[in-house]
């Protein structure tokens, strides 16, 4: 429908073309800020100004060469991988349990499991800061990993649960009837079918931890810098132009993840025969 309907009145034609102009402007508003930061990361001068006097890779050199940034990147990756493994395992198990028909109190349990997604993140940060202190978890990797895992699990539960809707449980019974042990049934029958959901849940968990800044600000020690925390202080304290390079790297990473999730979603729909 790139042309107005044949019976359209003049006012409709005007609205139609006006609508496309409006759409173009809004999409520009959405994408432009993210794209505008990319060229600035190649600016030779430490200013956020167009036109740029010259090009250089100095901010990327700083990002990949300065221990402050590389250490932060490394810590964030390590943290996100830990969180991904733990939350994917816990979340997948819970989603399998929740998928059982006629489970008593299902909605209450689901409500509790999804709480970390609902509670405003500042409340989470203050809460873990107040209570983790009693267990010596402030400023530790374990403390950060526990808090991030709690924040990430709801996304795994949702992603896996959505692949389990319309799941054909007779496949499980068939495997059992043919003599497979429960572990084999899970590994050879259920897991391959829900794998797209598990992986996309894992990607969400990774992103949740990798992008999380508020809990990290409260819970981590001065030397413990995650990448978002380093970016936050890069903006707040020194306005280092390296933030443009860091932002560009993260934009590229999120585009890769978006492509990954989209491919998985299509594969999942194909596997379940939706399309």
């Amino acid at each position: 429908m790139l042309k107005p309907a044949p019976y359209a009145m003049p006012i409709e034609k005007a609205l139609f073309y006006g609508g496309w102009i409006f759409t173009a402007l809004v999409l520009l508003f959405l994408i432009a800020p993210i794209l505008a930061i990319v060229p600035l990361s190649f600016n030779a001068e430490p200013y956020f100004t167009y036109p740029m006097p010259g090009l250089s890779l100095r901010w990327y050199e700083d990002f990949f060469g300065n221990e402050r940034w590389t250490g932060a990147l490394f810590l964030s990756i390590k943290l996100a991988i830990t969180v991904t493994i733990v939350s994917t395992a816990l979340g997948t198990m819970a989603a399998l349990g929740l998928s059982r028909a006629h489970l008593p109190a299902r909605s209450v349990i689901l409500g509790i499991l999804l709480l970390p997604m609902i509670v405003p993140v500042i409340v989470v940060a203050v809460a873990v800061f107040m209570s983790f202190g009693y267990f010596g978890l402030i400023g530790t990797f374990t403390g950060l990993a526990l808090a991030h895992t709690a924040l990430a699990t709801p996304f795994v539960v949702i992603a896996v649960t959505s692949t389990l809707t319309n799941f054909d449980w007779s496949l499980q019974r068939a495997a059992q009837g043919l003599g497979a042990a429960p572990v084999t049934v899970f590994r050879r029958v259920i897991l391959p079918l829900i794998l797209p959901g598990v992986i996309s849940g894992a990607l969400f968990a990774f992103v949740t931890s990798f992008d999380e800044v508020v809990v990290a600000l409260f819970l981590s020690s001065a030397e413990q810098r995650t990448l978002p925390k380093q970016m936050f202080s890069g903006i707040r304290e020194m306005i280092s132009p390296t933030i443009t390079a860091a932002a560009t790297v993260q934009v590229i990473l999120s585009i890769c993840l978006l492509i990954g999730v989209e491919l998985l979603r299509r594969r999942s729909e194909r596997l379940r025969g939706i399309t």
Partner: protein, 410 residues
């Protein structure tokens, strides 16, 4: 066949047993995560909320004073025995920082008393003989005012409504009645109203931008719509901090947006874009737009075009058909998108902190500074309680009309 069933009297029981085993297996699968979330998440949040109404610092430090104050009528100054009890309590906690904690707590109620309480506690160790009443009043005439004693008595209750009242700009006066606080201290209602106002404003702007775009995309050819959706999904997947960083860079006084304004000769001097309400709202609209747009788009995709055709062929004009037929059909999407955006906006912290004005913070920012700058856990907890309450009420509504497990992940 009938015989086997007839000779198996336990069949219903076997069914029930199998059902129970199934439930048990499900429970075993769910339990690890449930325990994890309760221990690492729910318990800390409940502890935080308890701090909003529980503060034992005065009760623990001044037990005998509070006992002596129990029979005090509150009209005149307390008797000599009460002053003696206070001195005794202060002597007991000498060498610790308990008196400083009492001073800090009372300072929330009467500003400037912290140092006076600490001074009195230090002096108390040197006081050996009565009359303590005269000695304390001689030290500072504050001790000769019944206000401080009324406040000690109020703060002596471990379960206190002080922090919650303060979050609503109320306090208990010297006679223990709830009254509004002085105008100069009344800031929190403003913070809460500002939070709601900014959230509502952002929600309305995202709706105004999202609705036409969702409409055009939902009625465009499939391939074009999928291509254009990338423009919405890439920002959606980019982290909040990165997008806030982008706006932080763009809105600088010498940043690209001001470059553009001057290039187009719209204005001579640079506009003050960053560290203002404008900065906060612009960045928040940018971040929340996909959250409002995607549910509306999803609903519009499901509306059969024959409804509009029917309305038109029955003689409805384009606008009439739109408002009477199409718009009502999209209301569920509007409700879901707007409610989600509004709820998420209430909790914004990073964006107002980085691109907003220092005096224009939302409630999350005030909670953060209560923790980081003032170290006032009671205040942070009380404001968290209010924020959480508002969030829960709205999510309850959201759950009713959308279903929380149907939150779109992208």
């Amino acid at each position: 066949m009938t015989e086997t069933v007839a000779t198996a009297p336990g069949l219903p029981w076997q069914f029930a047993a199998a059902e129970r085993r199934g439930h048990l297996r499900a429970a075993v699968l769910i339990l690890p995560l449930l325990l994890f979330v309760v221990v690492t998440f729910a318990a800390p949040v409940i502890y935080l909320l308890s701090r909003a109404i529980y503060d034992p610092s005065v009760a623990q430090t001044l037990p005998t004073t509070l006992q002596a104050l129990q029979n005090w009528d509150g009209k005149d100054l307390p008797d000599e025995a009460t002053y003696a009890a206070l001195v005794a309590d202060f002597k007991k906690v000498a060498e610790t920082n308990s008196a400083a904690l009492v001073g800090k707590r009372l300072n929330y109620e009467i500003s400037g008393v912290r140092s006076k309480v600490i001074a009195a506690a230090n002096k108390a160790t040197e006081m050996t003989a009565p009359p303590y009443k005269d000695q304390l009043i001689a030290l500072d005439k504050m001790w000769g005012d019944r206000l401080i004693w009324a406040k000690i008595k109020q703060a002596g209750r471990s379960y206190t409504d002080f922090y919650l009242l303060r979050s609503l700009d109320l306090e208990r006066n010297v006679d223990n009645n709830i009254v509004p606080v002085a105008k100069s201290q009344a800031v929190y209602i403003n913070v809460l109203l500002r939070t709601f106002y900014i959230s509502a404003l952002v929600t309305l702007i995202t709706l105004a931008l999202a609705y036409p775009v969702a409409f055009m995309l939902a009625h465009a050819p499939e391939r074009l719509a999928n291509l254009l959706l990338i423009f919405i999904l890439v920002p959606f997947w980019t982290s909040l901090l990165v997008r806030t960083t982008a706006w932080f860079v763009l809105l600088q006084d010498n940043g690209p947006v001001n470059n553009l304004i001057q290039f187009l000769h719209l204005s001579d001097g640079p506009f003050k874009l960053i560290f203002s309400r404008f900065g906060t709202v612009t960045a928040m609209v940018h971040i929340q737009l996909p959250f409002t747009l995607l549910p509306i788009y999803g609903v519009m995709k499901g509306i059969s075009p024959s409804y509009m055709r029917a309305a038109r062929s029955l003689g409805g004009g384009p606008l009439y058909s739109f408002f009477r037929v199409y718009l009502p059909l999209t209301l569920p999407g509007i409700g879901a998108g707007c409610l989600l955006t509004f709820i998420l906006c209430l909790g914004y912290y990073i964006t107002p902190a980085l691109v907003g004005g220092a005096s224009d913070q939302m409630v999350s920012g005030v909670i953060a500074s209560a923790m980081n700058q003032e170290n006032n856990w009671g205040k942070a907890s009380a404001l968290s309680l209010i924020l959480l309450f508002a969030t829960f009420v709205l999510f309850f509504i959201y759950n009713r009309i959308v279903g929380i497990d149907k939150v779109k992940l992208g």
